[in-house]
């Protein structure tokens, strides 16, 4: 025992080095869930403060571009409004006079919240975006995130009081259900970690006949994303003779380099959908 203690005391530098290495490797490997709950909130608060200080500067210099974007978006929204006010067609008399169901009233499924981006990375293998809107302002886990152009950005993975963290599409584990606009065949969007501009669309059936330049949209199967949002365009097609599926490289429509504002999308019926998707296995 005495010898062991002596040995450790003689080599205490080496042992403290070993301990530090082990600590960092454990942190790195167990990052997924446990780290997020233990340190996540605290780290988010510290890094969030510094990031928002820095962002105040960056924000100032980008005001012009942001303004242009806002104006464009306002115009788009106004157009949409005008389209909504179509006069009721009174020239057609309905055969059944008694059927009076108000067809104008619809149930709203998706709600949009704006949020300011205060932290953004795109050079790493696992990229995250931090936004200044948290649980107190109505953000929930698994909400979808889209950019002002209407192209998709990622999914909320972590929320504290005033900040939330988004897993960007540029993340090794990111997976979003997508479809080709041409023939409505669905696959899943992933990222291979190579270039921030290029995403991969996997598991496209070989019956599809994609062409370079085809539009890729979100599919109606996703529970967090509304259907038919822009993802990107096909830039090249990888044919693998040994598989029944095609892999397509997609030029991303989202510009991840200069995200300033994003919109969070809340699906009011997400829980209900997830619930029904998980049921039924016991009955088979």
């Amino acid at each position: 025992m005495k010898n062991i203690i002596g040995f450790i005391r003689q080599n205490y530098t080496f042992f403290s080095f070993l301990i530090l290495q082990i600590v960092s490797l454990v942190m790195l490997s167990s990052y997924s869930k446990s780290h997020q709950t233990f340190f996540g909130n605290w780290n988010n608060a510290v890094a969030g403060t510094v990031n928002s200080k820095y962002n105040e500067w960056a924000y100032f210099f980008n005001l012009k571009a942001t303004n242009a974007k806002l104006v464009a978006e306002n115009a788009a929204l106004r157009n949409e409004l005008a389209q909504n006010f179509v006069a009721y067609d009174t020239s057609i008399k309905s055969g059944t006079l008694i059927l009076r169901k108000d067809s104008l009233e619809k149930i709203r499924k998706f709600f949009y919240y704006p949020a300011k981006v205060v932290g953004n990375s795109f050079t790493l293998q696992k990229n995250y975006i931090t936004i200044e809107r948290g649980a107190l302002q109505g953000v929930k886990k698994d909400m979808a995130v889209i950019s002002p152009d209407g192209s998709i950005v990622g999914v909320v993975i972590e929320v504290n009081d005033n900040y939330s963290k988004i897993m960007s599409l540029l993340h090794r584990n990111s997976k979003v259900s997508a479809m080709l606009k041409r023939d409505r065949i669905a696959g899943s969007i992933e990222w291979d970690g190579m270039s921030p501009d290029i995403l991969t669309l996997k598991n496209i059936s070989k019956s599809a006949s994609p062409k370079i330049g085809d539009t890729v949209l979100t599919s109606p199967y996703s529970s967090s994303f509304p259907a038919q949002l822009m993802i990107g365009r096909v830039s090249s097609i990888v044919k693998d003779p040994s598989s029944n599926f095609l892999t397509l490289n997609i030029k991303s429509a989202t510009n991840f380099y200069n995200l300033e504002f994003v919109y969070l999308v809340q699906n009011k019926r997400m829980d209900a959908q997830a619930d029904i998707e998980q049921k039924g296995e016991g009955n088979e």
Binding site: Y12, T13, F14, S16, F17, L20, Q21, V23, S24, L25, V26, M27, L28, Y31, H35, F39, N43, V46, A47, V50, N51, Y54, G119, S121, F122, T123, L124, Q125, K126, Y128, K165, R172, G193, M194, S195, P196, Y257
Partner: protein, 173 residues
């Protein structure tokens, strides 16, 4: 006291440069992410003990990790170079230079040759370990070698640039 102040200022400044500038610039190529923050370890005075450089390496690495959401990645790499630094310096330095404990490694105090070998070996070890840890999570060997090589060259250029810009030669008597 002066030394402590100077080095804490450096710690914060290098961290800010790394976070605000180098991590933000669009990647020149998929291989290259420029790293400069570990120049803090390179510039510690000769007399800093091994345990101090290791702990400081861990501290600056972990601080950077908090901003890049990769807890432990940079901390592991920076504490490794902190631990190896005294060994490399002992091999490279003549006895009389390493006795001037308050001086810092630079072209002026070490000379061109040894200093280049010093920064090259530390940069290479840092990137090799850093990319190895990343690579263990998702692998492709060509990507690994390419990334280590090109990122090392990029960092070497940045370090030399910092060295020449700050003109730390004048320390030589």
């Amino acid at each position: 006291m002066n030394n402590i102040l100077k080095n804490s200022a450096r710690f914060i400044l290098l961290l800010l440069i790394q976070i605000i500038i180098l991590n933000e610039i669009p990647p020149i190529h998929q291989f290259i992410t420029p790293y400069l923050y570990f120049i803090f370890i390179l510039w510690l005075p000769f007399g800093t003990s091994r345990i101090a450089t290791t702990l400081l390496g861990f501290a600056i690495g972990y601080s950077l990790d908090m901003f890049t959401n990769t807890p432990g990645l940079h901390a592991a790499a920076a504490s490794l170079i902190g631990y190896l630094r005294p060994t490399i310096l002992n091999i490279l330095l003549a006895q009389e230079v390493s006795e001037e404990l308050s001086k810092e490694p630079s072209i002026g105090t070490m000379g061109w040759g040894p200093f280049m070998i010093y920064i090259f070996s530390i940069t290479f070890i840092h990137h090799f370990y850093l990319v190895l840890l990343e690579w263990l999570q998702f692998g492709d060997f060509g990507y690994f070698i390419g990334k280590v090589f090109f990122t090392s060259i990029m960092s070497m250029l940045l370090i030399l640039l910092a060295e020449l810009l700050l003109n730390r030669r004048k320390l030589k008597r």
